[in-house]
């Protein structure tokens, strides 16, 4: 079964082509990273895959059903997304934010049930955010907040988790922590994870597959060892790199 099937989609902002007939098939239980320089269309592709944006041509299937055929709530039970843009101007406690993940399962006038609390507790335990429970979302660090947003996404109990640059703006320690968390969730729960990333070496280390993009097109899609090559990096980033192959995954050092 495929988790996400992108079929020849094109997307434009005004007259600028941002995605040019992109096709992509992501199997269930995979951890896939989308890599590419700024402006290559990574985030636009992700936003098309979670229905925030709608492609001008082509279509997208989520779990073998057209994304158009899901209601907002039904889609939110299949796909959870941690966006870059989340705002935190309002005083919510961490627990309140995590519980918001239960929204797609709730009816009007309904309060969270004991079961909803249990699911939120579990998500906070998995992301090691339990101790932050009663803190304000405004009062915690960037790394903690990212883990809280992932906990909120887990509370949605979806098959697919999408993350938009989850580790930009974080210290290296938190970067590793977040990606390890993703890997663990991917392995333990067979959660399909699609994430945009900037760091080539981290993508190579943690991903099953990598999508390498440039100018709104996919240059290469495959396993890290097939994607992270001197030629591909040159082609996409116009950068000379040295390839280190002594680990189980390829790494690059800019020359």
């Amino acid at each position: 079964m495929s988790a996400l099937k992108v079929k020849d989609i094109s997307f434009r902002y005004g007259v600028d082509d941002v995605l040019r007939t992109i096709s992509l098939n992501i199997g269930t239980g995979q951890l896939v990273s989308i890599l590419g320089p700024n402006g290559s269309g990574k985030t636009t592709l992700l936003k098309n895959m979670c229905h925030i944006l709608e492609p001008h041509e082509g279509g997208i299937d989520v779990l073998d059903q057209s994304i158009e055929r899901y209601s907002y709530k039904e889609l939110a039970k299949k796909v959870a997304v941690v966006h870059q843009s989340a705002e935190h101007d309002f005083e919510f406690s961490v627990e309140e934010v995590v519980l918001m993940g239960r929204y797609p399962y709730m009816k009007h006038f309904q309060n969270e049930s004991a079961n909803d609390y249990k699911i939120a507790d579990e998500a906070m335990r998995k992301t090691s955010t339990e101790h932050l429970r009663h803190k304000s979302i405004k009062a915690i660090s960037g790394g903690e907040r990212q883990r809280v947003m992932i906990a909120r996404a887990l509370t949605q109990e979806t098959d697919i988790l999408m993350l938009d640059e989850p580790i930009s703006h974080l210290d290296i320690k938190y970067q590793i922590e977040i990606l390890k968390l993703c890997k663990r969730l991917n392995l333990e729960k067979q959660l399909t994870i699609v994430t945009t990333l900037h760091d080539i070496n981290l993508a190579s280390r943690f991903s099953d597959y990598i999508v390498l993009m440039k100018d709104g097109a996919i240059i290469k899609y495959g396993k890290p060892e097939d994607v992270i090559t001197i030629e591909n990096i040159m082609k996409v980033y116009e950068l000379d790199v040295e390839l280190i192959e002594s680990y189980s995954y390829p790494m690059i050092i800019p020359g």
């Binding site: 936003k47 979670c50 229905h51 925030i52 209601s71 907002y72 709530k73 039904e74 889609l75 939110a76 039970k77 796909v79 959870a80 997304v81 966006h83 843009s85 989340a86 705002e87 935190h88 101007d89 309002f90 005083e91 919510f92 406690s93 627990e95 309140e96 934010v97 519980l99 918001m100 993940g101 929204y103 797609p104 709730m106 009007h108 006038f109 309904q110 309060n111 969270e112 609390y117 429970r133 009663h134 304000s136 405004k138 949605q156």
Partner: protein, 345 residues
């Protein structure tokens, strides 16, 4: 919200309702004629058809039942409405400065009322005077224009609404000034109307505002979960299952309708929709499940209190309630700003 928060919320709501009742009873005693509490109890018993051993002055009964009670009820409803619209708009616009008049309700209503004052002062139908009716129409017409100016295709831009609201406000204010210059005899009435007052309160007004107010409150209570999610960001909200465009449109339109009803019975009353949501957000946090009910009662309490002052603080004279809310609201808002300066930077 944790489970402890739920019981906490219930206690606070009970305390607020008690405070509202006590202030309401106190308010009944106040005014140009001071009526003792014992007489109020007797009037109520008489109205309910219970025998009262000692007769009380019929004028007391008239004042309580036909003048003060509808006025207290109206100020309560208007205060509550303005506060929860403030809450909703601040969530929709993700802007703490959003108030119930952000879509041009106040300037539209003022313009409508000004026309009503100049061209048909005192005319009335179905117990409602022409000025209220014109204010209502003016408010809704302005909302319609602002909303459509801010609409691009099927989407509504919140920034567009802020800008269109400012433009309409400036435009209508100039027209009002122009009318005031042309019809100088009516300046007093126009100025007084725009400062807000409940002196025309009647049971007809209560009946008119009751149904929309109840529906509006129920609507907003049904959307508390969605509003919570919305303040995380529009993309987040959509991926949590909220139809963001629909929520924004419905809330903007329903709230503006409510604001138009409020303004048409009371004139423009500032600050309630701004300070009450801020105050309660500081106490309880941003959870709309707590904010909407507590702000409704809090706004009701605040405006009823202000109106009681408005009609009793200076003997034999009534001060427009909008002046009182601003006199209290201004310094209080400064206090909140001062206390929370660090958070704002």
């Amino acid at each position: 919200m944790n489970k402890k928060g739920v019981t906490h919320k219930k206690t606070v709501i009970v305390i607020l309702i008690l405070a509202l009742l006590i202030t309401g009873i106190f308010s009944l005693t106040q005014g140009s004629v001071k009526i003792p509490v014992s007489h109020i109890a007797k009037v109520v018993m008489m109205e309910l058809g219970m025998g009262v051993d000692e007769m009380i002055k019929p004028s007391y009964a008239f004042i309580i039942i036909n003048i003060r009670l509808p006025r207290i009820i109206i100020s309560t409803i208007v205060g509550g409405i303005l506060a929860i619209i403030g809450v909703a708009f601040q969530a929709i616009f993700k802007n703490p400065m959003a108030d119930p008049y952000i879509m041009g309700v106040s300037s539209g209503a003022a313009f409508g009322a000004t026309l009503g004052i100049v061209f048909g002062w005192g005319m009335s139908f179905a117990g409602l005077n022409l000025i209220s009716g014109m204010a209502f129409v003016g408010a809704l017409a302005t909302v319609f224009i602002v909303y459509n100016m801010a609409k691009f295709g099927s989407k509504v831009s919140t920034t567009g609404i802020l800008l269109a609201g400012i433009v309409m406000n400036a435009f209508l204010s100039s027209l009002i000034s122009l009318i005031m210059i042309l019809y100088q005899n009516d300046i007093d009435k126009i100025v007084t109307w725009t400062m807000g007052s409940f002196n025309a309160a009647s049971w007809d007004q209560v009946r008119m505002i009751m149904v929309p107010a109840t529906l509006g409150i129920l609507y907003l209570i049904s959307k508390t979960n969605a509003l919570n999610v919305l303040v995380l960001g529009e993309d987040e909200a959509q991926n949590l299952g909220v139809d963001v465009q629909k929520l924004k449109k419905q809330t903007l339109i329903i709230s503006s309708f409510l604001a138009a009803f409020a303004v048409s019975v009371s004139g423009i009353i500032g600050f309630v929709g701004l300070i009450i949501p801020h105050l309660f957000r500081m106490i309880f946090g941003a959870n709309h499940k707590i904010l909407i009910p507590t702000c409704f009662i809090g706004g009701a309490l605040f405006l009823m209190g202000c109106d009681t002052l408005a009609r009793s603080i200076v003997p034999n004279m009534e001060i427009p309630v909008g002046i009182i809310t601003s006199i209290f609201g201004g310094p209080f808002f400064f206090y909140l700003l001062y206390k929370n300066k660090r958070k704002l930077v």
